[in-house]
């Protein structure tokens, strides 16, 4: 579209917007290299990796206590893993169900979608009240876990629904009517088509659960997850070790994203090689 000044103006605006999005993180990353006697603000007294060593427990003595992230990191990973498995399975099953038209599909759809809409602080409160009343102890692997699935399952469901919408059912039927067993049909026909969706659903579930804070706050009980440990440090004075931690978790998330990208690429490359063979024949 040509409209003179508008295009460069919007391009500049978008660049400024990206600066707005990334600015705080860039500043945070710069300040994470603050020296030992520097605070969580400018100026940088001296560049150092002291706060990274401090975070990893390698710094010798310090006026600042170490961030309590070790055990909570393991808990968060396990919680995210459990959530990923359950919400992906539920998501695939529900989306598969929605390929058939049935009465009450509208309310069922909205009931599932509600899970990503309801504020975490509300379901968290409700779950805490419920477990108090029933006398069930609250823990990250029980009360928090079920709430995390309530949150991530709608995402997995929507992703799988989008995949199934583009998936012609007759392909499966052709395979079945040619005498291929249902198990073989799933492995050779259904699974390759839905695999990119399953991978995306897993990525979403894992990252959402790993970072989930509001749903965990009232339901985790005594043992904290990673976001809860971070939140605990907010009320006291913050130090650059928190910034160093922010940089490291971001790098970790990017690693996950890269693994996802590689798996996806490998899979699509395999799929295109397969269709290439067909063309040759």
């Amino acid at each position: 579209m040509q409209s003179g000044i508008l295009r460069p103006a919007l391009a500049t605006y978008t660049a400024l917007f990206l600066l707005f999005l990334y600015g705080p993180m860039i500043v945070l990353a710069i300040l994470s290299f603050q020296s030992i006697d520097g605070g969580p603000q400018f100026p940088i007294r001296d560049w150092s990796t002291y706060w990274y060593q401090h975070l990893l427990g390698l710094a010798e003595s310090s006026r600042v206590s170490q961030l309590p992230v070790g055990e909570s990191l393991v808990r968060s990973m396990m919680l995210a893993f459990m959530t990923t498995v359950v919400s992906t399975i539920l998501g695939v099953m529900s989306a598969e169900a929605f390929r058939t038209k049935f009465k009450g599909s509208g309310p069922a759809f909205y009931l599932i979608i509600l899970g990503m809409m309801v504020p975490g602080v509300l379901v968290g409160l409700g779950m805490a009240l419920l477990s108090n009343t029933l006398g069930i102890g609250r823990a990250w692997w029980s009360t928090s876990f079920v709430l995390h699935v309530v949150y991530t399952y709608p995402f997995a469901f929507l992703i799988m629904l989008a995949i199934f919408n583009r998936f012609d059912r007759t392909v499966e039927e052709a395979s079945l009517s040619l005498g291929v067993t249902p198990a073989q049909t799933f492995r050779r026909v259904t699974f390759p088509i839905i695999f990119p969706g399953v991978l995306s659903a897993m990525l979403f579930s894992f990252t959402l659960s790993y970072d989930e804070f509001a749903r965990t706050l009232f339901t985790a009980g005594r043992d904290l997850t990673l976001p809860l440990s971070i939140y605990g440090t907010f009320s006291v004075e913050i130090y650059p070790n928190l910034f160093a931690f922010g940089v490291l978790t971001t790098l970790f998330s990017f690693t996950l994203l890269v693994i996802y990208g590689l798996l996806m690429k490998r899979f699509t490359a395999k799929a295109s090689r397969f269709s290439g063979q067909e063309d040759a024949a």
């Binding site: 579209m1 409209s3 508008l6 605006y13 978008t14 917007f17 990206l18 707005f20 999005l21 705080p24 993180m25 500043v27 945070l28 605070g39 969580p40 603000q41 400018f42 100026p43 539920l90 998501g91 099953m93 929605f98 390929r99 058939t100 049935f102 509208g106 069922a108 009931l111 599932i112 899970g115 809409m117 309801v118 504020p119 602080v121 509300l122 379901v123 409160l125 409700g126 009240l129 419920l130 009343t133 079920v146 699935v149 309530v150 469901f157 629904l161 990252t207 509001a214 706050l217 009232f218 976001p227 971070i230 939140y231 907010f234 913050i238 910034f243 922010g246 978790t249 971001t250 998330s253």
Partner: protein
Amino acid sequence: MSAFSTDTLATSAQTAESPALIRERKDRRRALGLLTPGLIWMALFMVLPMVMVVYVSFWTQTTFAVNSELTTASWERFLSSPTYLSAIWTTLRIWLIVLVLTILVGYPVALFIGLFVRNKTIQTALLVACVIPFWTSFLIRVIAWRPMLGTEGAINTILLKLGVISEPLTFLLFSEFSVLVGMTQIYCVFMVGPITFMLGRIDISVIEAARDLGASFGTVFRRIILPLSLPGVMVGSIFVSVMVLGEFATAASLSGRKVNLLGNIIVSQVGSLKWAFAAVAGVVLTIIITAVIALALRLVDLRKEM
């Protein structure tokens, strides 16, 4: 196999049902079977807790506990307390301002990515650039505004160096301003995404036809682009609204306790074991969010847009 088919034939002849009908019923039963675990999960772990919140809001609050004797005392106290009522007002005000800000900030970006960039690769790259910050922890993104906005933060340092100001600006951090800036930055992408998606679907030849017929860009925008992008704005508004209304972490860590949203009330009440009051605040929040979503759903069919 043959025994099976004659058997089916016999039954269908008996009840005068076509095989298609039988299959349809079998499919429906299978669909319900697949759906049941998910729906049970949602009923037990989402609907039941929410019902519990409503129920407990009518319980009797003693100093450190609640008992299930029904009373409206908590409601009366909530609705007659200026602190709690002002929290409702603050929540609504912050929500509206952030919603408007995300639309104002996000729409031009969406316009550029969705309509002006026609190269698919650049378009995807720009969208990915918008989404990447989401792979940083939410709490870290909130706290990242502190070294940015603080009195010795990046913005004040730069402005002082440039000579624009002679003293650091103190309203930037621990104020309503910092909460608004933080929330706009965090939730803006949920507005940019849906609007970009809708704008990307506009057939460019429609716009070209309008321009050929002599329409100015203003007219094209008002008559074609804006109406076609409105469903995106609505979907984005739903996302931003439910997230901002249920917020408490941004206000807790950036406002210096100057901004108290309903979410903050719930957290502080739970902290002091006032479960019934927390439940009342929860019900009020639920009512507000339900009203907002209901209003939005009257304007847009979510199922059709996704």
